[in-house]
Symmetry: C2
Subunit: 240 residues, 2 copies
């Protein structure tokens, strides 16, 4: 099987055998997590970053009154907390939405790479920049778009991101977030997410069965969401 990290990075340009070997080397400490458990606890100061090999995870923060906001979603191939390499202290946590498999990558290995492999360093940096671009889009959606557009947008985004990793089969994909989690991500109440999904279903844009989602009318969905995948920078090429 292709290594998810190598696959993710090679979307941006080819790696040398040497570089691939390094990536395999640093990611051989594999752990698993049950759904609803923390991959990273809020406030942790880890000596490693966590690479998601399988499953879907969410970065979240919690307020004093118990309200929660999910600020990012991560899928196979994503480094869920690569930023902790330089920021050290996580100001939020990362939770498994589905059962997850992940590799722990030691910060000292990343430090070593950043001195010896400039191209890999830029690739890692790029991954965090793409995270940031996605986060800014989420901010914009929450700040200015209707509930319907927000839901449509996240479905489009997930379709693309999972599709990139080969996890979409004829317009359908598994998306393990509950309606409550979707609400926490989109700044909506559970009830309103429910009603919005019903609307999208009855308008024939999507179909859901359990946690499986099928997009029936991509064009209309993308149009309503004003979705334009360039912000995902999936194939942004990196210079050597």
């Amino acid at each position: 099987m292709v290594h998810p990290l190598i696959a993710a990075i090679e979307k941006h340009g080819p790696l040398t055998e040497d570089e691939k070997a390094v990536l395999r080397d640093i990611s051989d400490d594999v752990v698993t997590f049950a759904a609803k458990t923390d991959l990273v606890r809020p406030g942790d100061e880890c000596a490693y970053s966590t690479l998601l090999l399988d499953g879907v995870a969410a970065r979240y923060s919690t307020f004093a009154d118990g309200q929660r906001q999910i600020s990012a979603l991560h899928v196979t191939g994503d480094f869920v907390d690569l930023h902790s390499f330089l920021l050290k202290k996580m100001d939020d946590g990362v939770m498994a939405l589905s059962p997850c498999r992940a590799a722990r990558v030691a910060h000292k290995d990343l430090l070593e790479i950043s001195g010896r492999y400039p191209y890999l360093t830029r690739a890692f940096w790029l991954m965090t920049l793409i995270d940031g671009a996605i986060s800014r889009h989420l901010t914009a959606a929450i700040g200015r778009r209707s509930a319907r557009q927000r839901v449509a947008h996240i479905l489009c985004e997930m379709h693309c991101r999972l599709g990139n990793m080969g996890l979409v089969r004829n317009g359908g994909f598994d998306f393990p977030a509950t309606q409550e989690e979707l609400g926490d991500m989109l700044g909506l109440s559970t009830v309103h997410v429910n009603r919005t999904l019903q609307e999208l279903r009855s308008d024939g844009l999507i179909a859901t069965s359990g946690r499986h989602i099928e997009i029936h009318d991509w064009d209309r969905l993308a149009e309503e969401a004003e979705f334009d995948a360039t912000y995902l920078h999936s194939y942004q090429q990196l210079e050597r």
Copy 2:
């Protein structure tokens, strides 16, 4: 005068003379911008990134219906679009809120640095990670907090960030955003921003005169906003 970029980076750890010289070298192409003009136009593919030397700027994106969302604020010492070094295509624009002075740093210089100066590379990377952390906090605030808390939060954040660069005098600072811009940043209407500011004023938390803001009761303001400055990572130390 101390170079703003060197000052910003040295908050995270000392630089060698050699590194400082490099930073000065790459940032000698200085340009000025009037308020309300674009430092970077949406969709630009620049060959350089823009370092803000003076003034306040905002990253924004616009929707088809004319709605605007401001996704980040930048102050002296910030690289407003360092991410364009690797992402190339800007999916949003950056606008001067006040008159600005900025240096254009060629991407080829950054590429060179990323091969030769690992520490500077990590420092630049760190700057973009801090941007991301701030952006996630904004997402959380917009998604889950009341108008009053959002406004209070942004005032706390600006107080800290401007304070870091020595731009606060006894609790007061210049913050050039109009109420409309504040609304576009916080996902609120202009009218509601206005009413919220009035509330904060009449509750004795802040005072405003023109674009100058004074914080009269920092403790209560920070408490209401649940503000905790650690996410700014202002003094996060970098390993050599």
